[in-house]
């Protein structure tokens, strides 16, 4: 099973009624059990692309499809940057939301819900409302919610960008641990180049105006232990390479 993004293009009408091309000629495939990371400067269309893949936006042309899948209605799990937990539901109720909507039995909801809440380490906060959680805990609940539907494709849009640097580092490690247990096909969006290098099997670098694929970089490092002394230099090289690709665009974005 793989997810094919084929000739995707997206134009918006901006506030001055002008047509703006946000994405153009986007073509790539997310293979089974592959972790693909999208990086690029602000406004290059990362979120737009992720939303199109997630079925939350229609492409102007082109299409996105699953290939070689049995189910007629593939499951998607999305983790949002804004977290988007339902404030009126407790952690548990949030996590099992997708299961409820699929008509899964109460008993199974309990089982699956508890399993994933456990996995993200929120067992003690099962019955807490989102407002009672810290930023890091909220995002973990968001991840558990996306995992609970056992998705065919996991989408994450800058899930850790609102967290402080230390929490972020710890969450990246945790995410990798979880991913190693689930091995979900994943499309991950980030601004943070170190994060991309740390997590990705493949990094897709976008340029802006219009958002196009500038480069696709395979990260040839073992999936775990990239932080170790011995890989540090190589990681740092990848990061530098990506930064050189983006830098110019990022500076331009800052001046807008």
């Amino acid at each position: 099973m793989s997810i094919v993004i084929e000739n995707v293009e997206k134009t918006f009408i901006d506030s001055k009624k002008k047509e703006v091309t946000a994405l153009k000629d986007i073509n790539f495939t997310i293979e089974e059990e592959e972790f693909v990371v999208l990086v690029g400067p602000s406004g290059c269309g990362k979120s737009t692309l992720l939303n199109i893949v997630g079925g939350l936006l229609s492409p102007t042309s082109g299409s996105v499809y699953f290939e070689g899948i049995k189910e007629s209605n593939p499951n998607l799990g999305i983790v949002f940057q804004e977290i988007a937990l339902f404030p009126w539901r407790t952690v548990f109720e949030n996590v099992v939301y997708g299961l409820q909507e699929r008509g899964v039995s109460k008993k199974q909801q309990q089982e699956i819900g508890n399993h994933y809440i456990d996995m993200v380490g929120l067992t003690d906060f099962k019955d807490a409302y989102p407002k009672q959680l810290s930023g890091g805990m909220k995002q973990r609940a968001g991840i558990a919610r996306a995992l609970a539907v056992e998705p065919d494709l996991l989408l994450m849009d800058e899930p850790f960008s609102a967290l402080d640097a230390q929490t972020r580092t710890l969450m990246q490690e945790e995410l990798l641990t979880i991913w190693n247990r689930t091995k979900l096909s994943t499309l991950y969006v980030t601004h943070n180049i170190e994060e991309a290098v740390y997590l990705a099997d493949r990094v897709i670098v976008l340029s802006r105006h219009p958002g196009q694929i500038k480069e696709i970089i395979n990260i040839d490092l073992p999936k775990t232990g990239r932080n170790d002394e011995k890989y540090r230099e190589q990681s740092s090289k990848y990061a530098d390479e990506i930064w050189q690709l983006i830098r110019h665009d990022a500076e331009a974005a800052l001046k807008e």
Binding site: L56, A84, W88, E101
Partner: protein
């Protein structure tokens, strides 16, 4: 040479200034005592400003005589019925124009066209249409409640974070479930804001309507004793209305805390 030392001190200490806890009581207690004294020693005639003690005693007598009971039930009937009808319609229509684009395009301009009319101005019209009985008064109150509620419900629906709708759809909700599980709870805080706003307006309309066209009710009682210059009984009426307003507000707040435990 001695080294110069410039100590840095807290320049926003004034923000943390504390006042003794009893100051709050002092204000109200002071006013009441002053008021009592002023009326007692006759600086101001009790005809114009009866002493608080006098008002309380008069109130008790009116309670015992059953006078308050009759007027209060008449008023309560009107306001409860009017408020319930107005709030129910307001929430319903607010949800409809909030969620359906076509209803929004048609309904919103109509709502905003009628909204600025001070509702009491319609009382004579309703008396013409519906007679001078309870119906016209209940309608006026319902109408006065309807508008703040419908507008707040509408804004409430519109202010629901679209991210949450997207999340719900992503996790498999159909449109009905989006309304039931996302739009409705998401709009609830704004709906309550509307209900609270409407509470004050409904009371104002009740009193005005009773003064203009009623024989019974706390409003007409206040006017009645105003005409008769029986100030202490007038004040009892004002006191009852103010308690009514207070209870109304507290009840809504209690309900809000029950229904929106997740509110920050």
């Amino acid at each position: 040479m001695e080294k110069q030392k410039q100590v840095i001190t807290n320049r926003v200490a004034f923000l943390d200034k504390k006042v003794p806890f009893y100051t709050s009581f002092l204000g109200i207690a002071g006013i009441l005592v002053l008021w009592e004294i002023v009326s007692r020693i006759g600086i101001v005639s009790p005809l114009f400003l009866p002493a608080p003690s006098n008002i309380v005693i008069t109130g008790w007598e009116m309670l015992v005589s059953g006078e308050i009971y009759g007027n209060l039930t008449a008023s309560l009937y009107r306001i409860v019925l009017g408020y319930a009808i107005g709030a129910a319609c307001g929430i319903l229509i607010g949800l409809i124009i909030g969620f359906f684009r076509t209803a929004d395009a048609i309904g919103t301009p109509i709502v905003y066209a009628i909204y600025p009319i001070p509702k009491i101005a319609l009382l004579p019209l309703f008396i013409l249409w519906l007679g001078i009985g309870e119906l016209s008064k209940v309608t006026i109150i319902a109408l006065g409640v309807f508008f703040p509620v419908v507008i707040n419900t509408f804004s409430g629906v519109k202010s629901v974070d679209p991210m949450l709708v997207k999340a719900a759809v992503t996790f498999g909700s159909n449109r009905i479930n989006v309304i039931r599980k996302v739009i409705l709870p998401g709009a609830l805080p704004m709906i309550f804001a509307g209900l609270k706003l409407a509470a004050g307006t409904s009371l104002l309309l009740l009193v005005s309507a009773e003064m203009i066209a009623a024989q019974e009710g706390i409003g007409s009682m206040v006017l009645h004793y105003g005409n008769l210059m029986i100030t202490s009984k007038l004040m009892v009426g004002v006191l009852i209305l103010s308690l009514l307003g207070l209870i109304f507000n507290r009840a809504l707040r209690w309900l809000e805390n029950k229904l929106i435990p997740w509110k920050e």
